[in-house]
């Protein structure tokens, strides 16, 4: 990374890895920030946890965002911990009217506390609840609209969930108001022997996801695009090749 300084528009960091960042990670981040904008992407906000958002965590997140002059901050429309335990996973809830209201109120609060646009990311999910009274995209779009927040649209997650739950990913894309999309994610996934697809971020983006991305771009581009590859990470040229492919798909 520090040898090649790739030609990319920005980098995204996992916020939690750099909150009160110690030593070497902080120094590496500072070097990257000297050359590129950095956006913050969290995995522990726990927006749909049973407890209210952790204000001390929001304070630290705001400090980091200010320090990096991050143009926006994103996290997931999910829960991550409960009853004092962090599961370090992005866990779904039922999709109901009262949870739209709860998520929207909290997301709006988070956006105010962060003092910059706050984007919500859609999940890859492996379970769906009988209690749900609406589709995932109805839930997602309503929370974004009612909170006056933004979309952090993960195209791969739409595909993964569509395969796992049997819906049409193009219906999902059609419901998105692209004027509210801060950023999109692309990533690789893994199909298990039992057919469930797991969002693994450990391989190239598949053809179906590229097609969905091209469709989204046609409907609502331009928007910033990020390749997520954070497991079994290959050499930088292979990751950059995915970025080049994204440019080609758009053209």
């Amino acid at each position: 990374m520090f040898e090649h300084w790739p030609e990319v528009g920005f980098f995204e960091i996992i916020s939690e890895n750099f909150l009160d960042a110690p030593g070497a990670p902080a120094r590496h981040l500072a070097r990257i920030r000297e050359r590129y904008p950095i956006v913050l992407h969290g995995v522990s906000l726990n927006l749909l946890g049973h407890a209210d958002p952790d204000e001390a965590y929001l304070d630290r997140l705001r400090r980091l965002a200010d320090q990096l002059d991050a143009p926006f901050v994103t996290d997931h429309l999910c829960w991550t911990g409960a009853h004092g335990i962090s599961h370090h996973d992005l866990l779904p809830t039922p999709y109901t009217d009262d949870l739209v209201a709860l998520a929207a109120e909290r997301a709006s609060h988070v956006q105010r506390r962060l003092g910059r646009p706050f984007g919500l990311e859609n999940l890859s999910s492996y379970v769906a609840f009988r209690e749900s009274t609406m589709t995932e995209w109805e839930f997602y779009t309503r929370v974004v609209r009612e909170s006056d927040c933004w979309y952090m649209l993960d195209i791969n997650n739409i595909y993964v969930s569509s395969e796992n739950h049997g819906f049409d990913p193009y219906d999902y894309i059609a419901a998105i108001n692209f004027s509210r999309v801060l950023q999109t994610h692309l990533a690789g996934h893994t199909r298990q022997p039992d057919g469930i697809i797991v969002d693994t971020h450990d391989r190239p983006v598949c053809d179906e996801v590229w097609k969905l991305y091209a469709h989204a771009w046609k409907l609502g581009g331009p928007f910033p695009t990020l390749i997520e590859w954070d497991a079994s990470i290959p050499a930088m040229p292979e990751v950059l090749a995915e970025m080049t492919k994204a440019r080609e798909v758009r053209e």
Partner: protein, 287 residues
């Protein structure tokens, strides 16, 4: 029931399911899908148990990955299977509570020293003494502490400071840690691949002449390990609580006159090396 109360109930049941320990009985870690709460499963569409198992496996394998990465040396000595068992026992007692996944290991070294079996079973015949496990964990921790230490300006001694050395304590830099080993583990760790590897490495024979000490420190962004003689290590430990003249006086107790002269010469060299390695970040006036 309010939305948050409903969430609290769902999340209690869901959390219990995904933290269920994986079964080791078949020689492959498997989710115990039959043990999931029937009421939770009834609320999930499709094959609820197989779907919950995805989260159950992810919870454990994500955490095991953190332990393997954080404790490369200890994982190599135990093998990943035994390390997973130790990590699972620890995490069942102390599940992660913070925002940062990397902090899930906090308290593990202490726990291993107090709670791990005296002999860690490695397959059917081999075993690793708990003492060796704890030593390896401490060495791994030293590397992490040094990596995470904030950048501090190293002590630069001017002429006035040399005079102050008799009345002031040296402030130890956070990017230097002393470790002791009974077995040649520091060298073993240096030979391990950078990424956690799924292979077991035998515990080498202990040092013939008793434990050795090393300094793990950072030069620029790179780790460096420096072997220490017993006297050198003792001096560095004494300097944490005493001024340089006090520490030297303590070292001299019981030494023959010619050994005292030799110690003074060696101490001057160690001190100069320490300045160069950035072992100290300042001087602190003794009250």
């Amino acid at each position: 029931m309010t939305a948050t109360l409903r969430l609290a109930e769902l999340q209690r049941r869901f959390g219990d399911a995904i933290r269920l320990p994986l079964d080791r009985g078949t020689g492959v870690l498997q989710a115990q899908v039959g043990s999931y709460d029937p009421a939770l499963c009834a609320g999930i569409l499709g094959n609820a148990r197989e779907r919950l198992a995805v989260y159950n496996r992810q919870y454990w394998f994500r955490l095991f990955g953190v332990f393997h990465q954080s404790y490369r040396l200890a994982t190599a000595l135990c093998g990943p299977w035994a390390m997973n068992e130790l990590a699972a026992s620890f995490l069942l007692a102390y599940p992660p509570t913070g925002h940062d996944l990397a902090r899930a290991i906090d308290g593990f070294v202490q726990w291993a020293g107090d709670e791990a079996p005296d002999q860690i079973a490695l397959g059917r015949t081999a075993a690793l003494p708990r003492r060796a496990l704890v030593e390896a964990l401490r060495i791994d921790d030293a590397y992490r502490v040094v990596f995470e230490a904030p950048a501090e300006p190293a002590l630069v001694l001017g002429e006035a400071d040399v005079d102050r050395l008799s009345r002031a304590r040296l402030v130890a830099s956070r990017s230097a840690v002393l470790v002791e080993e009974t077995w040649p583990l520091v060298q073993l760790r240096r030979g391990l691949p950078a990424e956690a590897a799924e292979r077991w490495v035998a515990l080498p024979a202990p040092h013939e002449l008793g434990p050795r000490e090393w300094l793990v420190c950072r030069i620029g962004e790179a780790h460096r390990v420096v072997p220490l003689s017993p006297m050198h290590a003792r001096l560095l430990r004494l300097l944490r609580a005493h001024t340089l003249p006090e520490a030297l006086a303590m070292l001299e107790i019981g030494l023959a006159p010619d050994a005292v002269v030799e110690l003074a010469e060696r101490a001057r060299r160690w001190f100069a090396d320490g300045i160069q390695l950035g072992l100290w970040s300042g001087l602190e006036q003794v009250a």
